[in-house]
Amino acid sequence: MADLVTNKGKYELFTGDANLDAADLRVALVKTTAPTADTNLRSDVTELTVGGYAPQALAGETVTEDDTNDFAYLDATDPVFAGLASGETIIGAVLYRHVTVASDSPVYAFYDLTDTPTNGGDVTVRFATPANGGALKGA
């Protein structure tokens, strides 16, 4: 597995549907099967089902042009998944644009995370620093 941007994500960046700093972007935690570049919708992703789990809406989304390092990036507050009950293993997370339901919400990117069993505590997904591209980097 590796981090990836889906083809759907690339497409919506070109069409403008992504509109990253204005869209209702959310992060979902993934178990068992990583998505591929061909993954289109949140409903195609195998999400956690343990008690306490729900996708988290991103807050503080900003899109920045870095002329010094010649790239642009999306940054946001690190999402926190509070009180995830024991019983499943997190393998990664997906960034998606929430529309109305899982079956109409396009997936933009996959974060390959260290496999981590839930234990009843909080889980925070820490995005990269702005200098390293934040939540999503375009170059």
Binding site: A93, L113, T114, T116, G121, D122, T124, V125, A135, K137
Partner: protein, 315 residues
Amino acid sequence: MAVNLHTTHFRFGVDELAESTHGWYANEDTNPSQGTIPLDTVFLLRFTVQETGGTAAANTDNTFQFQINGGSWAALTTTSVGPRAVAAAAFTNGAACTKRLSGTGTFESSGAGCTEDGTSGGTANDIAASGNSETECGIIIDAADVVHGDSIAFRLISPDFPITNDVVPTVVVNEPANQTLVATAPLVTVSAPAASRLATLTLTAATVLLTLTAPLATVTQGGALQAGIPVVTLSAPTATRVAQIALAGGVPVMTLSAPSATRATAVTVTATAPTFAFAAPTATIPSDDAGEWWCGLSGLSSLTGGGSLYCGADD
């Protein structure tokens, strides 16, 4: 037979409503599963104190104690570390307990069994021979004082009579460690294809505009730019014209513009070519293959640009 007191039943209660109506976290004589009672939240613990010796136990004081992970028993007070006695919403300190647990014989209904400091009963608590009373304490477990998995047991003692604890209710702390998962930024790469002209290029009259723009914009072999071509532009990070280029009459503008814009060998600019511009940090016409500078300028109306233009005798 002498007074013989036993704790025979217990139940963990929710601190809500009133002493006689509040709810429960688990069934009687059942410990709640781990995590059922949140940390830093007031809960209630009630015991049945049963007299089995057939002798009344007058003026009986009750003292709650606790034990963490099988360690020493300590008094549950308002300042104890780990669990501590606290004010409860369901009752006031010193109030009598109604009968809510199992027990046999006469129930002591005025025993001042409710406690917010870990001690109850006293002169009001007269347990009849073979009868029983109840006591209930408001308790909180401070998260800062415990760790995940700690097992906290409770019991009663009395300074007046021995109490045998047939039941020892226990709470297992649920305080899992939080986890941080580090993500790297997925990369979206946007790139343009190279634009190049690899062989001979002949631009004839009526070609209005020729533009090669891309990360690599090149014309690698000779080309003749003839009259009637208003604009020729090579613009890109690397824009090169490697071999000979001739600007004939009627080519108003020839521009090499880019961070590196080069015309590797000879350039001939003939009459009626109004402008030949070098507009780039590096826009040059280097020497020909014999190492000598050569260019022919005739009838040129202007020569502009920030680059260097060298002219010398042909070999």
